[in-house]
Amino acid sequence: MIKKRWRFAVALAAAASLLATGCSGSASESEGPVTLTYWDFLDPSQDNPRAKALKENLANFEAANPDIKVELAVVSLGDMLNRLPQAAAAGQAPDVFKMFTPQVPQMAAAGAYSPLPAAASEITDWLRPIDTLAGPDGQVAVPYEYRTCAFYYNEKVLKQLGVEVPKTYDEVVTVAGKAAKAGVTGFGTGFSDADNSAIIATFFDCFMSQVDQPIWNAEGKADFATEKGIEFGNFLADLRDAGALASSVTSDTYGTVADGLANGTVAMTVLGTERIVTMASQNPDVKWTSLPTASTGDDTGATIGWTLGIGADSEHADAAWKFIEYMTGPKAAAVMATGGEVPTRAATYDEAFFSTPEAKTVNKIAEYVKSNSEPHTYADDWIAVATGLSQAGQDLYLNKKSGSDFITSAQDAANK
């Protein structure tokens, strides 16, 4: 009986102490060090240049700001697009998160962002205008790295075929057909929406910029099923008819096409410039150049890339902006450039690294992004556009739909 009373007393004391801890918790959080939650798709524990650069930058930031700790959560882009609106609705958005340029307005419309503080307007040396990174309440993100589309080709395969590097999309179809007959995938692309339709959506974005076709009209409705837009659909249909698409194109993703290019089973493709450094190390036969031209004769694609923004209802907005300012600033951007990412501020290029031979490639890419791309605004339905493109692509391949049907179907899906 005494033992039972003793156990009961201990249990009661434990419960009381837990209760006391819970009640006193909120008071202690308002003082002392700040912990920022940061969502990024890069895993710093991985052995690749970009991950290593991120790890170094996080460590340097914390060393320079001992009162701010950064708690990184590795979240894929697909998960981020699903989880951010939910987290924001539940008041649990991260303090800082990375987001891809076309999806910024949609995430802003979903309430995932806090507006940037006034201090953000003091930075004026962005290499590209940043007013496209806005939501209903104003500027919500700043660019973290720039990229655009480039045309990749396997030089060895083209030499074996006895052809020159194609300069127009019509030439791409011809060369791709020959490559397919030789046993490789003539042109790599993918219609899977497993990775948020990354490859087809990015290619579409750049192609529309090339032919100077706005994706949305003034009312924010998708409006690209025009003569210029149909050129994109016709290019895909021509590739299909030439047998130049992979048999797995309906389930291929950005990653599988990049892998195919790296292992020599894909002759040509359009990918982002972020792959240039890794491709060079994976397969020296893979080269890159500017985009083939379409009817307009232009090779200017869209300026895209990753951005950083402050999460909705962040309790540490000042610390979050300090972190963003550091990560986009010259020191961190120079470290990031060693991983092949293109910095976004003019001041960064004054850093010593950019005068070294190691910076040759990233300088070349930065110059290419500057001369061969332009940013544009996005409406808040990019996910619907991307998914529509995937499904229209699957229909084009499996049901032999025309290029015109492809582009119309994608537009209708976006406006549904």
Binding site: A89, A110, G111, S192, S251, I383, Q394, L398, N399
Partner: protein, 310 residues
């Protein structure tokens, strides 16, 4: 000579006659509610509450995760007039019934094999249970890698045999077949465990009598095993059907409902509407339809069993 009465001939308990006994009976009845209340509270919290909230959401406009004005049955009208809905229902039925047709006999056969083993029973049982121990995400990822047309082991095998690469997820028909088979492969151990428990309740004397009468394996199965397993079969069908109708993860990891919505079950449709289209109201309407379908299938199976037992 014993004159004690057998328990089987004991008279039923007489109704309480005195007022004290009536009060005692009422007190006992009230105490029963004390035990029922916690379970009822949990049931209300995890089932009834969410069900009503889902229905309520379906009756309102939504923007991302914000619930707006009352819109009546608009979401249900949109749902029922969606030309893709019949496809989703058909895919759900094909997927669920297809996986059931494979998992049920596979589970029964495994259970019979396990039950008849005398040596290495635990090791063999662990081997059979291996697939069930993996999460659905792991299973989907493993098969996605195995069936990869560029570098998967299946492609290596089929290419070496002269059949070319395996490309099951690129075609609507083979994609649906693949996710159905993968699901059946993952889930058959659940049927096996339920059947194994039931098989162990079959009296051994019945089998011995059949042997004496000259009956073989087939007679044993038809005349002894099956009759004893009738109720278990109904339970397994109900459990597996409910699992398959609600399942999302394997499809999400492998095909996400594609290509061309060929593997978009109603559950997958709810996921896509919620997290890709951000259409919470539409997703809620679909979820209500899914619940109704699940209920109808379950009641149909139970009713079929009741008719059999009459």
């Amino acid at each position: 000579m014993s004159i004690a009465s057998s328990p089987r001939t004991q008279a039923p308990e007489a109704p309480p006659t005195s007022k004290v006994e009536v009060i005692r009976r009422r007190r006992e009845d009230r105490r029963v509610w004390l035990y029922v209340l916690p379970v009822s509270a949990v049931f209300l919290f995890v089932f009834i509450g969410p069900l009503f909230y889902t229905a309520w959401t379906a009756l309102h406009e939504t923007k991302y995760y914000q619930i707006g004005e009352f819109s009546g049955l608009n979401s249900f009208v949109e749902l029922l007039s969606d030309p893709n809905l019949p496809n989703s229902i058909r895919t759900t039925l094909v997927f669920s019934l297809g996986a059931l047709i494979i998992a049920l006999p596979a589970g029964l056969l495994s259970a019979i094999v396990l039950n008849s083993l005398h040596r290495f029973k635990r090791s063999v049982r662990s081997l059979f249970l291996l697939t069930w121990l993996m999460s659905q995400a792991t299973v989907g990822t493993i098969w996605l890698w195995f069936l990869n047309p560029n570098f998967g082991p299946a492609t290596a095998i089929t290419t070496s045999l002269g059949f070319g690469p395996t490309d099951v997820f690129s075609s609507p028909t083979t994609a649906l077949l693949a996710v159905t088979l993968i699901t059946a492969w993952w889930s058959y151990p659940q049927a096996m465990l339920l059947f194994l428990g039931a098989l162990q309740t079959i009296p051994e004397e019945l089998r011995e009598s059949l042997k004496v009468d000259g009956g073989g394996l087939w007679h044993d199965f038809v005349n002894i095993t099956l009759p004893f397993l009738r109720n278990t079969i109904v339970s397994v069908v109900v459990v597996l059907l409910m699992l398959y109708v609600q399942m999302v993860t394997i499809i999400l990891v492998t095909t996400r409902g594609g290509p061309l919505r060929a593997t978009e079950t109603l559950s997958m449709r709810v996921f896509n509407q919620t997290f890709n289209d951000f259409n919470l109201s539409g997703a809620s309407a679909t979820a209500i339809l899914l619940f109704t379908l699940n209920l109808v299938l379950t009641l149909a199976v139970i009713r079929f069993r009741r008719k059999e037992s009459l």
